[in-house]
Amino acid sequence: MITILGAGVAGLCAATVLAERGLSVEVVDSGPEGAGASWLAGGMLAPFVEAESAPPEVARLGATAAEWWAARVPGVVRHGTLVVAPARDRAELDRFATRTTGYARIGADRIAELEPALAGRFANALLYEAEAHLDPRVALQALADGLRQRRVAIRYDTHLAPDQANIDCRGIAARDTLLGLRAVRGEMLLLHCPNVTLTRPIRLLHPRFPVYVVPREGGRFMVGATMVESDAVGPVTLRSASELMSAAFALHPGFAEAAIVEMGSGLRPAFADNVPRLTQAAGRWHLNGLYRHGFLTAPALAKQLADEIDLAPQEAAFAH
């Protein structure tokens, strides 16, 4: 029996890949379902857009993420990503274009065709057609359901000493073992706004508050996310909330009428280079440092992990 610690996106992807390969696994999480950083994620499967600030390794890990998710969970939408900038920040759009690939430059007519709600609001945009998005909560629940169908136990609110586990996917909590791990605080809003319709994630480039709006089912939108070098776990600050709200309002004034369904904050685990990785420490595997790329990179890291375990006999794989 392989014990995986942590039922966030890393832990559930690892459990899924291992179970699919016929291994016997269980998942243990010290918190309740829906309490970790994965629950607050944007769920954008955007390897091209992320390349603007992420090292090439992240795009490489994320290249097949959309296929992986679409084969396992409902609600993977493959409409691409739209990147826009207010007229006075047009230089930001040009800068973004020079840092990325996989986009088409489109004008006002095409923007109106793709997203009628944005008609007349932006003269230029970058369309990253190959990208996708999903609802992290739907996806995590679907992975958990799939695991239970394979008779994999997922135990929430259960404390287990880390050295009793074989695979550590605890996110920032694994700082007790992975000394290079740091916390990057993120804050997000969940809005209900049925009078605005968007069909793909929109990134609004702004020199001060770059923000994205990801449509969810039922007239909901996730607006995120701040990036603060801090391990403060408290509620969303007024400053962050007002930045996120201003950006949403700048994207579409209809968001002024939105109901704020939820404000959330969490800690992203990141290594110094912001690249997620599979490592060994303290006698167990660690899948960590997923930073802002959890749903994008977890499937590829889980496959790496399964390959490592496949290569070695059971006993040897966990005898470090």
Binding site: S53, A54, P55, R95, T98, R99, R175, G180, L181, R182, A183, V184, R185, P207, V228, E229, S230, D231, A232, G234, T237, L267, A270, A272, D273, N274, V275
Partner: protein, 260 residues
């Protein structure tokens, strides 16, 4: 260069925000040969800041200049400075009091007020100010021994927008360390500031948002060293008329006749 009785070998000060990753940031600091880095207390260390970023900055060996970035009143800046002294264990403070949220220009009145309180409290204050000479005098009266006039609005990358005013400021305060802070977008602009006799340059976005921040950090380090060397060497004065640089003496006599 000597700032508040501390000798520094580099004349480049770097901000630490907006880099793609802490690794890129620390590599850029090393490539630039930068000896002082600014850290914003408000953002980077909310509620203690034991997130792991701080040890990475300490490991660079650069001296930390905490920053009251984003403060809009004297009281807010004073409180932030006091917190920074506790958190970072230094009495150095970059004093920034923003007067307008859109232009991010300094509020000179609140700046002088905050500088007076902080200097009296034992801080070594690095005020982010304009090129206004009277404000500069008031800041010196308040106890500041370094001034940091802007080149252009924060993050704008416009270079030195008021060259004449900055020249006047340099001439007016020949013995006060003057650091150009904000608005620098290219190494040539930093070199220009150094050629004008400014003591150092503080910048962030131009390196953090470059395609290759590490290479850009190196380029800024080189430009600032070159600009300083040029200032020390003494620039030639501009002339209105052309002056041939090839000596007439010894010009070849081609024996074509007619001239003799």
């Amino acid at each position: 260069m000597r700032l508040y009785d501390v000798d520094l070998s580099s004349r480049l000060l770097l901000g630490t925000a907006q880099y793609p990753s802490p690794l890129v940031l620390t590599d850029a600091i090393a490539a630039a040969g930068c000896g002082v880095i600014t850290v914003s207390l408000r953002r980077e260390t909310a509620n203690g800041g034991a997130n792991g970023f701080w040890p990475l900055l300490q490991a660079t060996g650069a001296r930390i200049l905490p920053n009251t970035a984003g403060c809009h009143s004297a009281q807010e800046a004073i409180t932030t400075a006091q917190m920074a002294r506790e958190v970072f264990g230094t009495n150095w403070i970059k004093l920034e009091v923003i007067g307008n949220a859109d232009t991010l220009q300094p509020d000179p009145f609140a700046l002088v007020e905050a500088a007076r309180v902080l200097c009296a409290d034992g801080f070594a204050v690095f005020p982010y100010t304009t090129e206004d000479l009277i404000v500069a005098e008031r800041l010196l009266d308040a106890g500041c021994r370094v001034l940091m006039p802007w080149g252009a609005p924060i993050g704008s990358g416009r270079g030195l927008r008021h060259v004449d005013a900055l020249n006047a400021m340099r001439a007016h305060f020949p013995s006060v360390p003057l650091i150009i802070d904000a608005g620098i977008g290219a190494p040539s602009q930093a070199a220009q500031a150094m050629e004008m006799g400014f003591d150092a340059v503080l910048l962030n976005t131009a390196v953090a948002k470059a395609g290759d921040p590490v290479a850009m950090g190196r380029a800024f380090g080189q430009a600032i060293a070159a600009g300083r060397a040029a200032f020390e060497a003494g620039l030639m004065p501009p002339r209105d008329m052309a002056v041939p640089s090839t000596p007439v003496l010894g010009m070849a006599d081609l024996g074509l006749g007619g001239l003799r």
